[in-house]
C-alpha cells in the first residue's frame, strides 16, 4: 500500500517532465512540408489522424493543410464552413500565401464562429486531439484552430440511478458541454461561472468548475481550484477519480463530495451556494461542500407538499438507521437481552430459532452476505438475466433456507427489511453496508453495549469530519437553528427564505431583495 503511494509520487514527477517534452514541439515551421512531416511524426501509427492538403490559388500556389481526428469532427460542418469557402474564395487568389491568407481566412472566409489561433505546434496538437480542425498555411507560423466538434455520445435522457416522481427527467450525459448547457438553461445568469481546466497528464480531461459568482463563498471556490490543481495523475476517466482526490477525509466511508446526475438537483445545489465540478466523460457531476444532511434530501422534497416531504425525510432517517442497525439489534436482543423482549414475541423468536444449527450471528452473516452477492450480481449481469436471478434469490434466500433449517423465518424478515431500507438512502448505501457488519460483530460480542460503542465511534467520526471547511454534521453539530428548516423537517418552499447559513454564502437571502443587491454589485 505504502509502496504504491511512493510510486505514485515518483510517477507524478515523471509526468511533469513529459509535459515539458510535449510542450517543446517548438514553433510551427513556415514550410507546409515541414509541418506535414512534423505532424506525421507526432501522430505516427494513429489511423484516425487525417491530414489533408488543399492546393488553391493560381496554379495551386497556396497550400493549406487541414488536420483533424476522424470521427471527432463533424465532416459536414468542416466541408461546409471551412473547405468549401476556401476553395470558392481562394480559387483565383494571386497572392503567394502567408499572413495575408491567414488574415483573410479568419476575417472573411471561414464561416465557423469558434476559431482561434495556435501560436506554436503544441497548441495546434492540443487542438487536434481535442476534436478541432487545424488549418496550417504554407508560409505562415500561426495555425488556425476551428471548432467543428461533432456532437457525440448519447442523448440527454432520464438517469437510471436517481429517479424521482416529481421534477425534471433530464439527466447529465458524458459530454461536458451538453452538461454545462443543461445548467445554463436552468440558471440564465451571466454570474454562473464555468472555469475550464485540464486534468490528467495523458488524458487531458476537460474539467469544469461551476459556481454562481456573488453567491458561492469565494474561499470555497478557491479551495476547489487549489485541490483540483494538486491532482497529480495521468488519467481522469471519471468524476469518481476526482472525488477521491479532493475528498477531505479520503479514508472515511462517508462521502464528503456529492455527485448527481440530475440537472435540477445540481441547479438547486448551485443556488444554495455550492460549487459543482463537471468532468468530461462522466455523467456524474460533483458538488462540494457535501454535508451529511444532503444524503437524506431529495429533489422531490422541494417540489412537493412540505408535510409529505417531512414525512419522507423522517422515513429516510428511519430507513438509514434500520438498514445499518437492524441485524445487529436483532442479534443483540436474541443472544443477550432476552429480558426486554415482550413475552409473546420471545416465544415466537424462540420457536423460530429451534432447530437452526447456527448461532444467530453466523445466520445473520450468511444471509446478509448472500443478499450482497445477489445485489452485486444484479448490478453486473446483463439485464435480461436479472429476472431469473431475482427469482432464484427470492426462493433460495426466502423459502428454501428456512425450509432446510439453515435460517430462521425471522432472520429472513430482518434481512429483507434491511435490504429494502438500504436502497432508500443511496448516497450512504456503501457506508451503511459496511457499518452493518461492524455493528453486527460488535453486537455479537457485547450486545447493545457493543452497538452503543460503535455508534459513539461513528458519531465522533462524523462530527469530526469537514467538507471543504464546512462541518459535516451541520446543521446538527454545530447546531445551526436557521438551517434546521431543511433537515429532518422541511418547511414549505415559500418559507425557506434563507439559504443554508453554514455554507457562508455572500448572499444569504433568497428572493428579490438578494438578487437586486447582486445586480448593484455587478454595476460597480
Amino acid at each position: 500500500m505504502f509502496g504504491r503511494i511512493r510510486n505514485k509520487s515518483k510517477s507524478g514527477r515523471n509526468n511533469s517532465e513529459e509535459i515539458v517534452q510535449t510542450g517543446s514541439y517548438g514553433p510551427i515551421p513556415p514550410s507546409a512540408d515541414a509541418v506535414k512531416a512534423s505532424l506525421n511524426e507526432i501522430f505516427s501509427n494513429c489511423c484516425d489522424f487525417i491530414l489533408r492538403e488543399i492546393a488553391c490559388g493560381k496554379n495551386g500556389a497556396i497550400r493549406i493543410l487541414v488536420a483533424y481526428i476522424d470521427g471527432f469532427v463533424s465532416k459536414n460542418e468542416l466541408n461546409q464552413d471551412v473547405v468549401r469557402p476556401i476553395l470558392d474564395f481562394l480559387a483565383n487568389e494571386e497572392s503567394p500565401g502567408g499572413s495575408s491568407i491567414y488574415n483573410r481566412l479568419t476575417d472573411c472566409i471561414v464561416v465557423n464562429n469558434d476559431i482561434h489561433e495556435a501560436a506554436d505546434m503544441h497548441q495546434a496538437v492540443d487542438g487536434i486531439i481535442s476534436g478541432e480542425a487545424v488549418l496550417f498555411i504554407d508560409g505562415e507560423t500561426r495555425a488556425l484552430v476551428v471548432g467543428v466538434k461533432a456532437p457525440q455520445g448519447r442523448q440527454v435522457q432520464e438517469p437510471d440511478t436517481e429517479t424521482s416522481i416529481r421534477g425534471a427527467r433530464e439527466g447529465f450525459v458524458e459530454n461536458l458541454l451538453t452538461n454545462t448547457a443543461l445548467i445554463r438553461k436552468r440558471i440564465k445568469n451571466p454570474n454562473l461561472k464555468l472555469e475550464m481546466m485540464h486534468l490528467g497528464d495523458r488524458t487531458k480531461t476537460n474539467v469544469c468548475i461551476c459556481y454562481i459568482k456573488g453567491l458561492a463563498n469565494e474561499a470555497i471556490v478557491r479551495e476547489v481550484r487549489e485541490r483540483l490543481k494538486k491532482i497529480k495523475t495521468d488519467a481522469v476517466l471519471d468524476s469518481g477519480i476526482i472525488e477521491q482526490y479532493i475528498s477531505d477525509n479520503r479514508l472515511s466511508l462517508f462521502p464528503t463530495v456529492g455527485s448527481s446526475e440530475k440537472c435540477d438537483k445540481l441547479a438547486g445545489k448551485l443556488l444554495e451556494g455550492r460549487v459543482a465540478i463537471f468532468c468530461d466523460g462522466s455523467p456524474h457531476v460533483l458538488t462540494v461542500p457535501y454535508l451529511f444532511v444532503e444524503s437524506i434530501q431529495a429533489t422531490d422534497d422541494y417540489f412537493d407538499h412540505a408535510f409529505f416531504a417531512t414525512f419522507m425525510r423522517l422515513l429516510r432517517v428511519i430507513a438509514l438507521t434500520t438498514s445499518t442497525l437492524l441485524p445487529a439489534m436483532y442479534v443483540a436482543l436474541v443472544v443477550y437481552h432476552h429480558t426486554v423482549i415482550p413475552f409473546k414475541l420471545l416465544l415466537t423468536l424462540a420457536a423460530s430459532q429451534q432447530g437452526i444449527p447456527f448461532s444467530p450471528f453466523v445466520e445473520a452473516m450468511l444471509m446478509i452476505v448472500a443478499f450482497e452477492l445477489l445485489r452485486e450480481a444484479g448490478v453486473r449481469m446483463p439485464k435480461p438475466i436479472g429476472q431469473a436471478l431475482s427469482i432464484v434469490g427470492a426462493i433460495v434466500l426466502g423459502e428454501a433456507s428456512v425450509a432446510a433449517g439453515i435460517a430462521s423465518n425471522l432472520m429472513v424478515i430482518v434481512v429483507a427489511i434491511t435490504a429494502v431500507c438500504s436502497f432508500i438512502v443511496p448516497p450512504l448505501l456503501r457506508a451503511s453496508m459496511l457499518l452493518r457488519f461492524v455493528f453486527l460483530i460488535a453486537a455479537n460480542f457485547l450486545g447493545i453495549l457493543g452497538i452503543a460503542f460503535v455508534a459513539v465511534a461513528v458519531f465522533v467520526h462524523l462530527c469530526k469530519m469537514r467538507s471543504f471547511g464546512v462541518p459535516y454534521m451541520a446543521p446538527f453539530a454545530p447546531l445551526t437553528v436557521n438551517d434546521l428548516k431543511d433537515a429532518f423537517i422541511v418547511v414549505p418552499i415559500w418559507a425557506m427564505i434563507t439559504r443554508p447559513k453554514i455554507l457562508r454564502q455572500q448572499e444569504n437571502v433568497r428572493g428579490a431583495k438578494g438578487s437586486q443587491r447582486q445586480e448593484v454589485n455587478i454595476q460597480q
Binding site: 511512493r6 432476552h338 413475552f343 432447530g355 425450509a403 423465518n409 457485547l446
Partner: protein
C-alpha cells in the same frame, strides 16, 4: 506528506487491532442464545412442613406452541406446549439451580406471567420469600402475584387449559379482565413490594382457586397484616374494596327493582378516602365514591319512564355499593384489624405529627374508628330502549 500519512495509517491499524482485541478477548459477556434457555411462564412457591421451599415452574416449549414453525421438526420434538417441574430446596435461588439436575436448560424468569404463592407460605413468610424476586435482575416486576386458596400452587400450574395453550397465560389473562368485573384484583409484584414497604397500608393479593378440572377462578382477595396472610375477602367484599380504592374500570352491580332485578353497568367511578380528625385525634374514616352507571338490563316488569324512577334507582344503587364497601371495611377492621385501604397513608400525609407518635398502634386505632361511607351514583343512560318489551296482558 507521505511519511506523515504512513505514520497515521500505522497508528490507525494499531488502534483497530487493539479495539478488535478488546472485543474478541473479553469473551462473550452473558452470551446466551434463545435455544439455550427454558422460558418459564409460571412460578409456584410453596413451603413444606419441614420449612423447606417447594418451587414449581411451568416452562413453555416454544416449538410446539408455534404450529407454523413446528412442521419443520416433523413428528419429533415436544408435543406438549408446557412442562411442569417441582423441586424442593433450602432457598428459592438454591432450588432454581438444583432444579437443573432434572431440567435441560437454564431457567429464564423474565417471562414468568404469574407467581402463585401457597396459603401456608403466605401465612408464614411472605416477606422472606419475595426477597429473591426483588433482588434478581431477571425477574419482571410487572408479573401477577396470586395466593392459592384451598389448592397448592403446584396443582394449579400442573393444570392444562382449554383456553390458551399456555396455562400461565390463561391465568394471567383472567387476572387482566378484573377491570371489567371488580371482583378480583390485579396485583403485580411491584404493588406487593410497595405495600410491604409502606407502613400506612397493608398489602392485599389477588386470590386464585380451582374452578374445575382445568379451570381456575381469580376472585376475592388475600388480606395480609405485617407480612403474613390473615384472611380472605369474598368477591363482593373485594368489589367494595375496589370501589373504595378507586380501582374499578367497569362493573355490573345487580340491584333489586320493582317486580324484578336490574343490572347496572358502572362505567366510571371515582373514589377518595380520608380520615376526619377532631381535637387532634382521628374521629372517622371517610370513603367518598362518585360513580356513573347505565341501566344494562331490566329483568322485571317495571317502567323507567319517569325521572323519579331513575333517581329512586340511583338511591338503591348507592345503597348496594355502600353496603359492599361497608362489608369490606368492617371485615378489615373487626376481623383482620389490617388497614388494607391505606387510611394510615392519609394520616401520614395530612397529620404527620399524629402519625409519628401513633403509627405503631395504628391498626388498633383503625379498627376502632367509625366509618362514613358516601356513595353518589348517577344513572346516565338506559340503553337503547326505555321500558322492557313485554306483551301487555
Amino acid at each position: 506528506m507521505t511519511a506523515g500519512w504512513r505514520k497515521k495509517a500505522k497508528g490507525m491499524v494499531l488502534l483497530a487491532f487493539l479495539l478488535a482485541c478488546l472485543l474478541l478477548l473479553s469473551g462473550c459477556w452473558n452470551y446466551k442464545e434463545l435455544t439455550d434457555i427454558n422460558v418459564v411462564v409460571g412460578v409456584g412457591l410453596d413451603r413444606t412442613e419441614e420449612g423447606k421451599v417447594l418451587l414449581t415452574v411451568q416452562v413453555a416449549e416454544p416449538g410446539s406452541i408455534q404450529s407454523t414453525s413446528g412442521h419443520r421438526s416433523g413428528g419429533e420434538g415436544p408435543t406438549k406446549p408446557v412442562f411442569v417441574v417441582s423441586h424442593e430446596g433450602e432457598t428459592i435461588f438454591g432450588a432454581i439451580r438444583e432444579m437443573l439436575a432434572t431440567v435441560d436448560k437454564k431457567l429464564f424468569f423474565s417471562t414468568a406471567q404469574v407467581l402463585i404463592l401457597s396459603e401456608r407460605l403466605a401465612r408464614e413468610s411472605l416477606e422472606e420469600s419475595l426477597d429473591f424476586f426483588q433482588r434478581d435482575h431477571e425477574v419482571d416486576y410487572l408479573m401477577n402475584v396470586l395466593v392459592a386458596k384451598d389448592v397448592s400452587p403446584a396443582e394449579i400450574l400442573a393444570m392444562e387449559s382449554d383456553m390458551d395453550t399456555i396455562p400461565a397465560v390463561y391465568i394471567s389473562e383472567t387476572v387482566e379482565n378484573t377491570s371489567y368485573r371488580g371482583t378480583g384484583k390485579k396485583t403485580m409484584l411491584i404493588d406487593v413490594i410497595k405495600d410491604m414497604d409502606c407502613k400506612g397500608k397493608q398489602p392485599v393479593i389477588g386470590q386464585i382457586t380451582k374452578a374445575g378440572e382445568n379451570m381456575v377462578r381469580t376472585e376475592g382477595l388475600a388480606v395480609f397484616k405485617e407480612g403474613k396472610l390473615v384472611g380472605w375477602l369474598d368477591p363482593y367484599e373485594t368489589r367494595g374494596y375496589q370501589f373504595a380504592m378507586n380501582d374499578i374500570g367497569s362493573a355490573i352491580v345487580n340491584i333489586p327493582a320493582e317486580e324484578g332485578k336490574m343490572s347496572m353497568e358502572v362505567f366510571r367511578s371515582k373514589a377518595k378516602i380520608g380520615v376526619e380528625f377532631e381535637d387532634g385525634e382521628p374521629a372517622c374514616l371517610m370513603v367518598k365514591v362518585r360513580l356513573e352507571a347505565n341501566v344494562g338490563g331490566h329483568e322485571g316488569k317495571g317502567k323507567l319512564d319517569a325521572p323519579e324512577k331513575i333517581s329512586a334507582l340511583e338511591e338503591i344503587l348507592e345503597e348496594t355499593i355502600r353496603k359492599e364497601i361497608a362489608m369490606a371495611l368492617e371485615k378489615a377492621q373487626d376481623e383482620y384489624s389490617s388497614d388494607i385501604f391505606g387510611f394510615g397513608m392519609e394520616v401520614h400525609k395530612y397529620h404527620p405529627q399524629y402519625w409519628k407518635k401513633s403509627q405503631d398502634e395504628w391498626d388498633q386505632i383503625f379498627s376502632r374508628l367509625p366509618a362514613d361511607i358516601q356513595v353518589d351514583a348517577k344513572i346516565r343512560r338506559t340503553g337503547i330502549i326505555i321500558n322492557p318489551v313485554i306483551k301487555e296482558h
